[in-house]
Point group: C2
Chain length 331, copies 2
Amino acid sequence: MNIAEVARAAGVSNATVSRALSGRGSVSPATRERVLAAADELGYVVSQAASTLSSGRTRNVGIVIPFLDRWFFTQVLAGAQRRLMDSGYDVTLYNLEGDGSERRTVFDDFLLRQRVDAVIAVSLELEENEVSRLHELGKPLVGVGGPIPGVRTLQIDDDAAARLATEHLISLGHTSLAHIGGDEASDADFHMPIKRRRGFSAALEAAGLEPAGFIGADFTLAGGYRAAKQLLGSPNRPTAIFASSDEMAFGAILAARDLGLLVPHDVSIVGIDGHEQAEFFGLSTVAQYPRRQGAHAAEVLLAELTGSEAPSPEVPFELVTRASTARPRPA
Amino acid sequence: MNIAEVARAAGVSNATVSRALSGRGSVSPATRERVLAAADELGYVVSQAASTLSSGRTRNVGIVIPFLDRWFFTQVLAGAQRRLMDSGYDVTLYNLEGDGSERRTVFDDFLLRQRVDAVIAVSLELEENEVSRLHELGKPLVGVGGPIPGVRTLQIDDDAAARLATEHLISLGHTSLAHIGGDEASDADFHMPIKRRRGFSAALEAAGLEPAGFIGADFTLAGGYRAAKQLLGSPNRPTAIFASSDEMAFGAILAARDLGLLVPHDVSIVGIDGHEQAEFFGLSTVAQYPRRQGAHAAEVLLAELTGSEAPSPEVPFELVTRASTARPRPA
DNA sequence: TTGAAAGCGCTAACAG
DNA sequence: CTGTTAGCGCTTTCAA
């Protein structure tokens, strides 16, 4: 089943079938109608390989991701995949987790094997030559969740988001605030932890307050738990904790409970993310929308691929207040 | 940069380069050496499209998945992707979550567009004609996490796993056991909930016990929480709960705590999955290894594609005992 | 073991 | 608006 058979059935040339089916070039409505009918009847679908070979377009986008088991990443992936599929694009997934050897493979072999039209890099710090090679090949590249030098990137303003979370606590009247943030090890994340910590500090400073503590941990429930245990177990424990991610914040909530502390009565806790379980935990958080970020990234790429003007990448975030934050208990 | 340039550089024909690089057909060691050197030097990689068009092979496997935000699925995906990448295969991700309209698109357009050599279906009940169309196209198909009629599938023996979990509780001396399982809505899962419930019942029956309760919920933390609250809030609450998934079990643990019950002192809780957070929660569970299941699935496909004998799909599971289960408190 | 040559199925100039 | 035609780059007979 190939284009020729459709052409024969519709009584036109191969080229016309190609035009009618792809939408490139003009075809009279009547002819298009006939072609579509014939193609449908015969159950014809273009051969991806032939089309690619001839046109240079693959209708395939590569998504490179550092892990698969973090909520943020899968959300971005899902959002991007969905948006791309809606436009008839396939998504090839490159999961870099592991020893790092696959990273070179991905770049040297896969991306260069002309398998993709464009690339989305999620929370990944690309090396300069990785970026430039993609550029040379004319492949649009957009980052999500971390800035890549010279590359359009979608990410929330981490500094501002952290400030928002902190100011929320301050506005409630807290004066003893601690922060649970990323440790040095979380470097796949472009200093994101540092920016959030900076936002925290800035908000405190603006209010004339001193930080009541900082503990680095990894971005997991267990990490948040351990850090919070430490913070809340100390003699002069803070009355409020800002955690750099919701998963950490969940851990902090559990730690507080295990210490017999009531949230928010004894300690207020706020996170960043808008994780789907935040509602369950009653967690106040600065929500970001990774799914939309993924979809936006896809749109930017799609626009670049079709030569239209790329949409301006707005990356909204907002405070969602739930039961985990309240005024501090009067001393 | 194409095969011809490499051929020229190595002083051989295109055909020989193709043979040397693909390993199909015989080439003298010396020649192969020269070809590889030339290709490497020139930074040549075969054009996927041209190769596919000419050979009919895509070196691409489609993975179809119902959601992206469930631990089990992403683990399977990661395992399969990794194994396939190691063998030089790409993975195209089809995420079916949504209204179901994309399901037809995926089958009608994407899979038939000759974009994949094989398909892995994760926890997806395929319709008969979907299966047969893949068959007609000669595309190997393997399922993970749910049986598809007429298709090789990797999945744990749900009945046996549930029995194992239940017997663990019984062997500790519990006589009042309840079950939190999937509700009717979880139908993407091939009656898996039903099989697990059956295993639970069978184990009780074999021990001459009556079930102390069953509540259906969805496979989430919140679902498990609500169900456990109900179970544990009742006047004659069970001393042990078997939850169909670890996430549900986490919810049950939190529910117990919120009710002021001690785990395992007042109530023992066991799950199924071997979720990465099970350790944090101290959850006893019947661990399965979805990552390995994904890798196995990939191996089966790879074997079928190369014509070698497919490995026998072993799908192990085992009881991992932690702090959430213990003897019932003497009455 | 190696080379010559015929496609694989589609797209995009170009001509009309 | 439509047809003709020349590739796209590789694989695979078939011969040598």
